[in-house]
């Protein structure tokens, strides 16, 4: 029973003897093997750690277990929230939108506005035109966004709804009451059964940039367009902006959700910050477009390069070299020397790397995440002399595996470093048991791996549901690299203390100074 002076929640409540008894007694009614024959559970659990199990596991062709990817519309919603006063609108079932909103909200600890047009069975049969007509009108009337960005769920894609015609039809029928003729409603088809959330990001960004610039005259200027990609570290967007600003360069950050998912307390405003729609409409006039996530913007950058014939580059300002390259590109585009402030910042980062390297050097890491994130963070690990033993990318696009392999081949330990494209986190579990590492770097889905394998998890990635505020930090630029260095080094040191704290056994190595 609870003691009123010390009320405990489930963490400790169920440790009380009366509840331990409840749980023990419940087993007599259960049919799980743990209740019937615990030895059998032990036996199978051990078997899952073997090479034999690993081979069977890696041979899986159909079932995905514990994925490390999500579906297209999630990325489309992120794009929309990076534009000023823009409502993401998903043509399909509201169940999907409830999921997108929950998913982002659990990560950012911030509201995530997004509507759907609530298609149900009749719409699945007759198409969702009526839903689109009512939905756009209601959305515009209630939330008064300056732009509505439409993407689709797999339901709408399977039945083949035509977004262009539907949006046009909705405007015609509304007759300008809520949806004036020039009301911007960019759209993208984002089928969940193709690619992953980064594909949806690409499709929606492509839709935004191609449709908003339509009919807008191109008047070349010196601005630089920057596309952050599916960036879940809002601090990274700010780092990038600060670097560009230190060159005094004019720029358009296309899809800047850094304020949207970082609202101050005091009052609630549905929308904050974001790319100005006017800027987005004129982004074709810019001098160049830089993508900071090549694999999240393949289609978009192809348009920029091939159709717009704009100067373009793919950069990845994570780690020292990635940031150097980004800065040199800016220097080249602006014709300006690298400012003194950045030189100092770089010097400080390198100094910090030289302070901490003994703790990362030679340490084995397993890491998973989105393709561009992995290129960046793995580069940084290599710059520190660490060994990324298992690099796993569930949503690896074409070309990524080769690029990662080439990157790993720059390491003296290259023969022990493995790339796992298209694999999931249950595969990773087998890899960790058979070819162990010292640390893992990944998202919250790694916590079950941490429990099962005892490998410490360093929380870097998306989504992170069970650690707070990490997304507010930067992992880009020199300051971002310093954050990576701090998080990783200190986790190594935490673990060193953990391993040596045995009183009168190992605590001679429990050093005060490290």
């Amino acid at each position: 029973m609870q003691e009123v002076e010390n009320i405990v929640n489930g963490k400790d409540l169920f440790k009380k003897p009366e509840y331990q008894n409840v749980l023990k007694e419940k087993k007599q009614f259960e049919g799980a093997m743990g209740a019937v024959d615990p030895a059998k559970v032990e036996e199978i659990a051990e078997w899952t750690k073997t090479w034999e199990y690993r081979e069977k596991n890696l041979a899986r062709e159909a079932i995905t277990v514990n994925p490390a990817k999500a579906c297209q519309p999630l990325g489309a919603v992120m794009v929309a929230l990076g534009f000023e006063n823009t409502m993401p609108y998903v043509h399909g079932s509201h169940g999907c939108v409830a999921y997108f909103r929950s998913y982002f909200t659990r990560h950012f600890k911030e509201p995530t506005p997004c509507v759907s047009d609530s298609m149900t069975e009749d719409a699945a049969v007759f198409g969702g035109l009526v839903n689109m007509k009512d939905g756009l009108k209601n959305c515009a009337a209630l939330y008064k966004p300056d732009m509505i960005a439409v993407s689709t769920t797999c339901m709408a894609e399977v039945i083949g709804d035509d977004l262009y015609a539907f949006i046009d039809g909705a405007k015609q029928e509304d007759g300008g009451e809520f949806l004036p003729e020039d009301y911007p409603i960019p759209y993208a088809h984002t089928p969940s059964f193709v690619g992953s959330h980064i594909t949806g990001y690409d499709n929606m960004m492509h839709g935004m940039m191609s449709q908003l610039t339509e009919g807008v005259e191109v008047e070349p200027n010196e601005k630089i367009n920057i596309i952050p990609g599916f960036e879940t570290y809002i601090g990274s967007i700010r780092s990038v902006k600060s670097i560009v600003e230190s060159f005094g360069a004019e720029y358009i950050m296309l899809g800047d959700h850094s304020d949207q998912w970082d609202l101050p307390a005091g009052e609630y405003k549905m929308f904050a910050g974001g790319t100005k729609i006017e800027d987005a409409k004129n982004c074709r006039s810019s001098k160049a477009t830089l993508s900071l996530q090549k694999y999240s913007t393949t289609k978009t950058m192809k348009m920029v390069t091939k159709r717009w014939k704009q100067e373009s580059a793919n950069l990845n300002p994570i780690g020292l070299k990635g940031t150097d390259e980004f800065i040199m590109k800016l220097s080249e585009l602006t014709g300006k020397e690298v400012p003194a402030s950045l030189r100092t910042e770089r010097g400080r980062l390198v100094d910090a790397m030289q302070d901490s390297y003994p703790y990362m050097h030679g340490k084995k890491f397993a890491i998973w995440g989105d393709p561009d994130f992995l290129i960046g963070v793995v580069s940084f690990l290599l710059e520190m002399g660490a060994e990324p033993t298992h690099v796993l990318c569930h949503n690896a696009p074409r070309g990524w595996e080769d690029e990662m392999r080439a990157l790993l081949d720059t390491s003296p330990a290259k023969d022990d470093l493995h790339v796992w494209a298209g694999k999931d986190l249950w595969h990773m579990r087998s890899l960790l048991f058979t070819e162990p590492v010292d640390f893992m770097i990944g998202n919250s889905y790694g916590k079950e791996l941490m429990r099962d394998t005892d490998v410490p998890l360093i929380y870097i990635g998306f989504p992170i549901f069970d650690r707070h505020h990490l997304h507010r930090y930067s992992i880009a630029g020199y300051d971002g690299a310093l954050n990576l260095l701090t998080w990783i080094t200190n986790k190594v040191l935490d673990q060193l203390d953990e391993d040596t704290k045995g009183i009168a056994t190992t605590d001679y190595f429990f050093d005060l100074i490290r």
């Binding site: 559970v41 298609m119 009337a141 399977v158």
Partner: protein, 490 residues
């Protein structure tokens, strides 16, 4: 504020909200909003609201889908089975381990609740069909997870649209192997909310668990005269455990939990119990009615939120049994009373008169009212994501004062109601949490217990009281206004 002025304010709030909509939507939404009065017998449903209808397109509804109702609510917590999210990758990923359905087991070996199994549909599966892939999934699961006691197939939207026959594929595999395979046609576009998913999932339990005569591990449980099953408790944060202990203390034998911390075997043996205890009426009344009709098992609704309702419910349950149980029931009530008195004495003075607005699903919009009132708090607004008429009828008995009732409320409306009625606490889900916290309003998630709980039973009430106090009386809400902006107030 007197009751008249509260009611007037509530009616005004509804009128104001409706003005924002285009005509067609306003007409629709008007039917879903009302003011409930406890003494008003003329109301057919609480506030006379209409429910279980299609959501108005283009608004930020909080509703989920049929897949969420089946995989997320009913089937997902059954711990010794593997639940495949059948279709594209997203649904399973977004719903993974979000509901806090606690269980005991070795995850990945004999239990699987927090894992995500997906058939990860690609374009070719949409074009050529996914039945073959599903069959390979079954084989791979049985090979890699040999201690699973069955597999369910949770259909995502495309399955029902591309003409796949998961029923035939499942049947064929089950016949070949003798394993329990349950195909569930809970595609997200079916129905208007998660509610139809509950119903569909209930029906598949009937068809595949009861009528399927599933093979279960371990010794058979001999039926006893005090056997009961907990139905519609998903063991969120351990709710079913803090309920179970009370039932056992009064001499009942809980042979099954549906479906938090459940095993297939428990569900199968429920057809032999003497009484079904139904907590979440909305999601599991279907199977309870079926068991009544088919196996003659009576069912009784109960409410384990807050001492007043808990005591009422314990006595109601005991009344189905002999004097021995009834006497023990009184002993249980007496045993916990001093603790509860102390909890109320500690927290009521800190919470007295504080007003609450709720928006949740299932049973909570009415069931938790009593728990708040036990702490001296007043619920002035409530509503359900996916309720039906019978829920709103039941709500009439629970409200204590004029209460604004909003069915399938969307974010625009809820925000407007909160701004107008100025409650001291908003209690709803994750999607709205930070909206209200930004405004400086204390907030508790009432789906996940905000990562605390359990809230059921006596021990749960103590946690509930502590959490509400924590939310309302935290110093953080006082920091929103900067000192330089406070001068005018002084």
């Amino acid at each position: 504020m007197g009751p008249e002025s509260l009611e007037a304010k509530q009616k005004e709030a509804i009128e104001e909200v409706l003005k924002a909509y285009p005509a067609k939507a306003a007409k629709n939404r008007a039917k879903h909003l009302g003011v409930g009065a406890p003494e008003d017998e003329s109301q057919k449903t609480c506030g006379n609201v209409r429910s279980n209808k299609k959501t108005v397109p283009g608004v930020m509804s909080q509703r989920g889908c049929a897949y969420a109702g089946s995989k997320g609510v009913v089937w997902g917590p059954v711990k010794d089975m593997v639940h495949i999210s059948h279709g594209p990758i997203g649904c399973g990923q977004y719903s993974r381990a979000g509901r806090r359905n606690y269980y005991i087991g070795t995850t990945g070996v004999d239990t699987f609740v927090t894992m995500n199994f997906s058939s990860d549909f690609q374009e070719k599966d949409i074009v050529f069909g996914g039945d073959k892939k599903l069959d390979v999934c079954f084989h791979e699961i049985d090979e890699l997870f040999p201690l699973n006691n069955g597999i369910t197939v949770q259909s995502e939207c495309p399955i029902g649209l591309i003409g796949d026959d998961i029923n035939a594929t499942s049947k064929m595999y089950a016949k070949k192997t003798g394993h329990t395979i349950v195909p569930v046609n809970c595609e997200g576009f079916r129905g208007v909310s998660q509610s139809l998913g509950h119903h569909i999932a209930n029906d598949t339990i009937r068809d595949y668990v009861f009528d399927g005569n599933v093979d279960t591990l371990g010794e058979k449980v001999e039926p006893g005269e005090y056997d009961v099953a907990i139905i519609g408790d998903y063991n969120i944060g351990g709710d079913a455990w803090s309920s179970r202990i009370l039932l056992e203390e009064m001499g009942l034998r809980v042979v099954a939990q549906w479906s938090g911390d459940a095993t297939l075997k428990e569900m199968a043996q429920t057809t032999k119990v003497k009484l079904n205890l139904l907590h979440c009426y909305r999601s599991m009344n279907y199977i309870s009615r079926h068991m009544e009709k088919e196996y003659g098992i009576p069912w009784v609704e109960y409410n384990f939120f807050g001492p007043t309702q808990t005591i009422k419910s314990l006595r109601k349950i005991a009344a189905f049994f002999d004097e021995k149980v009834q006497a023990k029931c009184e002993e249980v009530i007496a045993k916990y009373q001093p603790m509860i008195d102390a909890v109320v004495a500690k927290y009521r003075p800190r919470l007295e008169g504080k007003q609450v607005m709720l928006f949740v699903g299932g049973l909570r919009p009415r069931h938790v009212i009593g728990a708040y009132e036990d702490l001296g708090m007043e619920v002035i607004g409530t509503g359900y994501e996916f309720a039906h008429d019978d829920d709103y009828k039941r709500t009439k008995d629970e409200i204590m004062r004029s209460t604004v009732i909003y069915d399938d409320v969307n974010e625009y409306e809820l925000e407007a109601f909160v701004k107008k009625l100025q409650p001291d606490l908003v209690a709803s889900g994750i999607k709205e949490k930070y909206v209200f916290q930004k405004m400086g309003l204390p907030y508790r998630q009432m789906h996940s217990w905000d990562y605390s709980g359990p809230y059921h039973g006596y021990d749960g009430f103590a946690i509930f009281a502590q959490d509400m106090d924590l939310a309302i009386n935290s110093p953080v809400w006082g920091h929103s206004t900067a000192p330089w902006d406070k001068e005018g107030e002084a």
